[in-house]
């Protein structure tokens, strides 16, 4: 077995490259593209514009609970007129403290992004891909719910 190191190395390279190749072909889904009802939310401002509204107190809706790998969360959105005025997370449960910490940091950043973009179509926070996906998905559902009323 003189060729043993060579065979082992060739196998290692093959395994490494094929997994990497598989991963790259399955490009990581960008959250905006992944939210299936993104189109509906684009139409929502005009629809909301039909409802005559003064400076009313905010209306809010709660999105569904989203399970993600490291925990579960749901998102509540508050709109005043056509503007998203607040986004909050009433429920956040994670398996362990580090996930809790990562999720909390990400949620704060997502909230800021959403408030400035005025939609759920924002980029995921890198390092918190699952939290972002769950957050934005629950948020989108909440916005849809609000506009369906």
């Amino acid at each position: 077995m003189k060729r043993a190191p060579l065979l082992l190395f060739a196998g290692t390279a093959a395994g490494f490259i094929s997994v990497l190749g598989f991963h790259l072909r399955q490009a990581p889904p960008t959250v905006a593209g992944a939210s299936p009802s993104g189109g509906a939310s684009a139409a929502s401002p005009s629809k909301a514009g039909l409802t005559p509204a003064g400076p009313v107190a905010g209306r809010s809706a709660l999105g569904p609970e989203e399970q993600y790998g490291y925990g579960v969360l749901d998102v509540e959105v508050t709109e005043s007129g056509t503007r998203i005025t607040d986004v909050s997370v009433p429920l956040l449960q994670t398996a362990e403290p580090t996930s809790q910490q990562i999720s909390e940091q990400a949620i704060a950043m997502l909230r800021a992004e959403v408030l400035s973009a005025q939609s759920a179509r924002v980029d995921a926070i890198s390092g918190a891909t699952y939290t972002s996906a769950a957050y934005l998905s629950s948020l989108q559902a909440a916005i849809d719910k609000l506009h369906a009323r």
Binding site: R3, G11, A14, L20, Y68, G127
Partner: protein, 460 residues
């Protein structure tokens, strides 16, 4: 190839048909197994890397966490490979031998142990940095609020223990049984650390495909171990139904155990191979020890010859006829399959003569064997007449070398004088480890290439 014609007049006139020979090794298959092992290693590494993002890496504690994940994954994979190495998959064992598998196992051992230790330490460091807390506080958090981490840590402790008792200096001081029990604990350690990988590992959380592949790999490893370390031996033991027929003294402290069984004409074994023998009697049933066959099977009989140096081997002299015997094997590549040249030199020291005796019987007549037996005193040259007979039939020469280690020494000078055509022969050497190492060195220095040197060492 020799057949019944070459059989010696052993066991007084019991001329019986010879059994089957073990199949020829297929090196290509072992090579393929090696490639598969490499693919797994590469895939494991890549899986860890693809689960990572730049953001995570640059976050506080991100680097330590990433390297911790990587060492954990690679360490676990290497631990699985170590288990597979000692599962003695026959197709691989026939190529590299039980000896070779154990050598790889030992060579690999420091890696998974240190990588898994690094995994634990780095993750504590990384998580502590991320949480801006102290390491001791973080250890506490990890152990008691993360799922399955506590039990995985116990597993790590067991793995380290197995590493510690295998360190040469310590291993020589612990009983074989302790060493064995600790190694058995490795299976438990790997089993209980499985959960935390799937539940917490960034490569697995939210990735059902990788979860599936990893789980299948673990289940398959467990299956291979069970099949080849438990299933096959049990099956063979039931099939051949060996019982002790006779215990015969051969020399000072040396006995031959002759077992009688069924279907032994179907037992595929080559001369020079060994079995793990388990004598099902009180006080012995729970341990299996490796002993070579000291002759090819002559159905319905097989014979092993043992020198009483330890508790187990000494107890063999007191075996009662009728005792049931369970076997695991055959193992080893100290066989005619390893022969590369037409002629051979066989060297045995002490009880190493048993493997050489059986191998001799299996060699073709054209091998014209030169046999060199070494012992401290003449009385220790057991099986001498059988060997002399076999050598004579093959037109070979027998040299007996007796005396203490200083007087009866095998060095470059004496070996060249005894075997002038050494460089055109295959060398087979069997005996205590120090002796085998010494002879192999001498042979190498005389210009014999590694592929012509075959050895089987036994530990006392």
């Amino acid at each position: 190839m020799p057949t019944a014609a070459g059989a010696p007049k052993r066991q007084k006139g019991r001329a019986a048909p010879q059994g089957r020979r073990s199949p020829a090794p297929r090196p290509a298959l072992a090579g393929a197994a090696l490639v598969v092992a490499g693919i797994g290693l590469g895939a494991t590494t890549a899986l860890t890397i693809t689960a990572e993002s730049v953001g995570q890496l640059t976050a506080t504690g991100g680097l330590a966490t990433f390297v911790g994940n990587l060492t954990g994954m690679v360490g676990t994979y290497l631990a699985l490979l170590m288990v597979l190495l000692v599962s003695r998959i026959p197709l691989v064992e026939q190529v590299v031998g039980q000896d070779g598998l154990l050598r790889w196992h030992r060579r690999l051992a420091p890696w998974p142990i240190s990588l898994l230790l690094a995994h634990a330490l780095l993750l504590v460091a990384g998580y502590a940095q991320a949480a801006r807390s102290g390491p001791w506080h973080e250890v506490n958090t990890l152990l008691f609020s993360y799922p399955d981490v506590l039990i995985a840590t116990i597993g790590l402790g067991l793995i380290c223990l197995a590493g510690v008792v295998s360190i040469r200096a310590i291993r020589q001081r612990v009983r074989r049984e302790v060493w064995w029990a600790v190694h058995l604990g490795m299976y438990l350690a790997l089993a209980i650390s499985f959960a935390h990988v799937i539940v917490l590992g960034p490569s697995f959380v939210g990735h059902p495909l990788t979860q599936l592949v990893w789980s299948v790999a673990w289940a398959a490893t467990a299956g291979v171990v069970l099949a080849y370390r438990v299933g096959l031996p049990v099956l063979r033991s039931f099939r051949y139904r060996l019982r002790v027929a006779e215990v015969r003294p051969e020399g000072p402290g040396v006995v031959s155990v002759i077992c009688r069984g069924q279907h032994l004409d179907r037992l595929a074994v080559s001369g020079g191979q060994f079995f793990f023998w388990r004598f099902l009697t009180r006080g012995m049933w729970w341990q299996a020890h490796p002993y070579s066959l000291s002759a090819l099977p002559q159905p319905p009989f097989v014979r092993l010859t043992v020198k009483g140096v330890g508790d187990h081997s000494a107890a063999l002299a007191r075996l009662r006829p009728g005792t049931r015997v369970a076997i695991e094997g055959p193992y080893g590549i100290f066989t005619r399959h390893s022969q590369r040249r037409s002629r051979v030199l066989l060297i045995a020291a002490g009880i190493g003569v048993t493997a050489v005796r059986a191998l001799l019987e299996d060699l073709p007549r054209s091998a014209r064997p030169v046999v060199l037996l070494r012992a401290t005193q003449r009385a220790d040259l057991v099986l001498g007449t059988e060997i002399a007979d076999l050598v004579k039939r093959r037109g070979g020469q027998l040299h007996e070398l007796t005396g203490n280690r200083m007087a009866a020494v095998i060095d470059q000078y004496s070996l060249r004088r005894t075997v002038p055509d050494l460089k055109e022969r295959d060398l087979y050497v069997c005996g205590p480890e120090a002796f085998v190492t010494g002879v192999v060195e001498v042979a190498r220095s005389l210009g014999l290439p590694d592929e012509a040197i075959h050895h089987e060492a036994f530990a006392l």
